[in-house]
């Protein structure tokens, strides 16, 4: 699902209209060669916000819309592992659901992400650098509160 642009820049400012957003989604498909179907949320992000509004979440939904997997960030490898396990699950009365929850670590800034920032423009790169300073300040404040 195509959402708001997380890091707007000179080459791709924040969407000003729904038509802008639809056109940006088509450019995303063409530039990155995406073959999965892309769905575009409304201008105000109604569906995106209903799922939490994060920039790169992934969800696996079973038949009828039952939530089976939710992740703050997308990892194709983890989704692949999960789907393999789901498909291997027996559906009989000797088996029952069990709920799990995990907390993992991810790299903050992969190469594809950096390319995306540069593609959107120097402002997107500079504003992310400034955000990293803000995150460092927050981490320092949190550490000093703990000690």
């Amino acid at each position: 699902m195509y959402t708001r642009e997380a890091h707007p820049g000179e080459n791709l400012p924040a969407h000003a209209t729904f038509e802008d957003k639809l056109a940006a989604a088509a450019r995303l498909r063409d530039e990155l060669g995406i073959s999965r179907p892309i769905l575009v949320d409304d201008f105000e992000g109604t569906v995106h916000l209903a799922y939490g509004g994060l920039p790169n979440m992934s969800w696996v939904l079973g038949r009828g819309g039952l939530i089976l997997y939710k992740a703050m960030w997308t990892s194709a490898a983890r989704i692949g592992d999960f789907l393999e396990r789901v498909q291997a699950q027996p559906l009989d009365l000797r088996h029952a659901p069990f709920h799990t929850e995990q907390l993992e670590i991810r790299r903050r800034d992969g190469q594809a992400f950096t390319r995306g920032l540069e593609r959107n423009g120097p402002r997107a790169v500079a504003e992310f650098a400034r955000a990293e300073e803000l995150w460092s300040q927050r981490a320092r404040t949190a550490r000093s509160r703990r000690s």
Partner: protein
């Protein structure tokens, strides 16, 4: 320009919006619950409801933008 379609990522972070949204995520919508339904637009302009997609099969839903 709406608050949702923010123009400046650093201002979004400075306002603490990232902390609020990332902080809320673990506490809302859990495995075993029903996912929110909603209407989306395909690139050809056709509208589709999520419930049309998950009626007969499962759905992997990834959210994203250029960045």
């Amino acid at each position: 320009m709406s608050a949702y379609n923010y123009e400046n990522f650093d201002a979004y972070v400075e306002a603490g919006e990232d902390e609020r949204e990332f902080g809320a995520f673990p506490n809302a919508l859990h495995a075993g619950e029903r996912a929110p339904n909603g209407e989306l637009t395909q690139l050809d302009g056709e509208r589709v409801r999520l419930s049309d997609l998950w009626r007969g099969r499962g759905v992997v839903l990834e959210f994203g933008s250029f960045t």
